[in-house]
């Protein structure tokens, strides 16, 4: 039974914009070495970070767009009209009172301070390029948990973060990881010491507020041996006439016996290109679980992955995508088995509404020299209208006799008789669709923390409104 909650973030909720004319820091329009240097300079970064950025920039320039498989819509991104760094200040406030009014009002309207009070161990709220607010409960700080942005993380704790930074996802992984590595700003750097288990989640909220803007946050979470953490991210942007780019890099490191659960509830407006690279490394007996909900955006390309590096490591991706009119959700998962007795599980559900399109791309690799590895992949697509579209591209490479893989895929459509049945019980067509879609994703939503399952259910309801007619 779902308890009522005050958290109601709807699809229109992010669609507002308090004009912010005064950005103290602005790297201007377009991308160049100078822009990269400007960003590094205002952040007062060490030389090695500037080198890292410049090298990534040159990789970005040389690397072609993914073409042979990706959607042509990528070609419509004009890197020359995007603003790569916009910030009002460099240091996040530790209390909401200190946050500048226009930014504070934005996050209050999105309900972030309220969520923090209710169920979070810590919050970071990023506004365009930098975090405006960052706070974690004191007792966690005493236990040695670090929850900062990348600038602080690399400056104040290089002994912890430098070792893994850019290692799970090298700059050269793809064009957008290179772009992020060149201009990254904001995001979460988290370290959980050995054996520390966070009872409540840490949350980051990413807000794009400026037009023609690119948000490039960088997240690195390290759970040391036996540590446990749940991290949640939410995202919104107002609807602008022009397109906005969101291109994050998220690296997770789960050391021996650690558990990381990473939850995304994305609610982008329909003008956002959301091109994100997410990957985890799981050591011996570690567990990494990605819970990924993609609602909104113009184009999302995101395939969270786990490299199962240690014996008995376990990786999981639970993914829900809703593609409405004018949207393409190109999502999936990557499971790279690199040790014996590793197991992975992928459950992906997509819903295509109106002229929306959803694609599932999955990659599973189990090399022949490994023993007793298992993968289970299920992808289910639901089509709501006759114009809706879905496609599935599984790439599974399993070798060796001792390994097993199970793959199931289904495509279903809501039948007229099902809708009639629900309508005969009094639900109007949109309510019926909504209930049906909720039923379709129900077994996945049950895996979510309660607060987020309520929000997601409501998002689905709103997405289904006006989808029929």
């Amino acid at each position: 039974m779902i308890k009522p909650s005050n958290i109601e973030i709807d699809r229109e909720k992010g669609n507002f914009h308090y004009p912010t004319s005064k950005y103290a820091f602005d790297a201007g329009i377009g991308l160049s070495e100078d822009v990269v240097k400007y960003i590094s300079d205002v952040k007062k970064e060490d030389d090695w970070i500037l080198d890292f950025r410049l090298k990534a920039h040159s990789i970005f320039e040389k690397k072609p767009m993914p073409t042979h498989w990706a959607t042509k819509d990528l070609e419509n991104i004009d890197f020359d009209v995007i603003r790569y760094y916009l910030a009002q200040g460099q240091k996040p406030s530790r209390t909401w009172e200190e946050v500048p009014d226009d930014i504070k009002n934005t996050f209050e309207r999105l309900g972030i301070p309220e969520q923090e009070r209710k169920f979070l161990a810590g919050v970071e709220a990023q506004f365009d390029s930098e975090a405006a607010y960052s706070h974690m409960k004191e007792d966690l700080e005493k236990q040695g948990v670090i929850f900062v942005g990348p600038t602080e993380g690399l400056r104040d704790h290089p002994e912890i973060f430098k070792k893994w930074f850019g290692k799970v996802i090298p700059s050269s992984d793809n064009k957008f990881s290179a772009l992020n590595s060149a201009v990254f700003s904001g995001g979460s750097f988290i370290y959980v010491p050995p054996g520390v288990k966070l009872a409540q989640p840490l949350q980051a909220y990413f807000r794009i507020n400026a037009e023609n803007f690119g948000q490039f946050e960088r997240t690195l979470i390290i759970a040391d041996e036996g540590a446990e953490i749940t991290y949640m991210e939410g995202c919104t942007a107002p609807k602008f006439e022009t397109s906005t780019l969101h291109s994050a890099v998220v690296e997770l490191v789960a050391l021996k016996g650690a558990k990381i659960q990473y939850i995304t509830v994305q609610n982008w407006s329909n003008n956002v290109y959301n091109l994100v690279t997410k990957r985890a490394m799981a050591d011996e007996e570690a567990e990494v679980r990605w819970i990924d909900c993609n609602i909104g955006s113009r184009l999302t390309m995101k395939y969270p992955g786990v490299v199962l590096k240690g014996r008995k490591a376990r990786g999981e991706v639970l993914s829900i995508a809703l593609a409405n009119d004018g949207q393409h959700q190109d999502t999936g998962a990557k499971m790279v088995h690199a040790a014996n007795e590793t197991s992975s599980n992928v459950i992906a559900k997509s819903v295509s509404i109106g002229e929306g399109r959803s694609s599932y791309r999955g990659l599973v690799q189990i090399p022949g020299h490994l023993k007793h590895c298992r993968n289970n992949t299920e992808c289910d697509a639901l089509l709501i209208n006759s114009e809706s579209q879905t496609d599935t591209y599984p790439a599974i490479t399993i070798k060796g006799d001792d390994n097993s893989v199970q793959h199931e895929a289904s495509v279903s459509k809501v039948s007229e008789e099902q809708i009639f049945y629900m309508q005969q019980r009094g639900l109007n067509e949109a309510e019926a669709m909504s209930l049906y879609v909720n039923g379709f994703v129900n077994d996945l939503i049950r895996e979510f923390p309660m607060e987020y399952s309520v929000e997601l259910k409501r998002l689905i309801d709103l997405e289904m409104e006006g989808s029929v007619g």
Binding site: Q423, G426, L435, N438
Partner: protein
């Protein structure tokens, strides 16, 4: 008038006329049965009254308590108080019985009002008990993997929870063994009252031993061709439908 009042109703599907100038009245507070051979239009009548989009109404009217139903959407008709127990209940994967019925109740409430969870579950469990449905069913997906009997019990459960003004039971006895038939019939009988009209559509007289009708109608080629007391059902059981067909042919 407090009734479902059907006048000269004609309807077709895929170009085939199924209902032909049908006239019929179901007063509130009464139980009527419609019997008839396969293909006579019984199920079509229930679908047309419920607003099924596949049927074209070409003539006539169908009023429920003086409100014209023809032209309304299925959910509007349902919220006005018409419940159809389906011959073949539909599966709704992933939606539990409890959430399904709750959503149906919620759909009947004013904006800003919510189903009260405690009262709701109390009533739901009580009615499940009466129908011999195990409590574990509340979390089962609607009709998914249900036996024929479980599906029909679940229809009656919904009917009793939604408190309709008029109920149509379309071949509710099909696929039921004798015990299930008794339980389902008792469930329907509990719903009989002076404020509710019940229409039972069936092939067989057997069901009418349990749900005793005030009137029995015979349907043939999209019309009501005979109406009588419950004894008419017994006569049909004994003699079949052919004598009626012959009488019509002769007339």
């Amino acid at each position: 008038m407090n009734s479902i009042q059907i006048d000269n109703l004609s309807a077709k599907i895929d170009g085939n006329n199924i209902l032909n100038n049908l006239n019929f009245t179901l007063p509130k507070g009464e139980v009527h049965a419609i019997m008839g051979p396969n293909g006579s239009g019984k199920s079509t009548l229930s679908k047309v009254l419920s607003g099924h989009p596949d049927y074209d109404v070409t003539n006539g009217s169908a009023k429920m308590d003086d409100v014209e139903l023809l032209g309304l959407s299925p959910d509007e008709i349902a919220r006005l108080g018409l419940f159809l127990a389906f011959q073949y209940p539909i599966e709704v994967p992933g939606v539990s019985i409890a959430n399904f019925i709750r959503a149906a109740l919620q759909a009947r409430m004013e904006e800003g009002q919510n189903v009260k969870a405690v009262d709701y579950y109390k009533e739901l469990y009580l009615k499940m008990d009466e129908l011999g449905i195990d409590k574990s069913f509340t979390s089962r997906s609607m009709n998914e993997g249900f036996s024929g009997g479980e599906k029909k019990r679940c229809e009656i459960l919904q009917m009793s929870m939604l408190n309709p003004k008029y109920c149509i039971l379309d071949e509710t006895d099909s696929g039921l063994d004798i015990d299930a038939l008794r339980v389902v019939s008792e469930g329907v009988n509990r719903m009989k009252n002076s404020e509710r009209g019940i229409l039972v559509i069936t092939h067989y007289q057997r069901l009418l031993d349990y749900i005793v009708p005030d009137k029995v109608h015979v349907m043939w080629e999209g019309q009501i061709v005979r109406s009588g007391s419950k004894e008419l059902a017994l006569e049909l059981e004994e003699r079949g439908y052919d004598w009626i067909k012959e009488e019509i042919a002769a007339a």
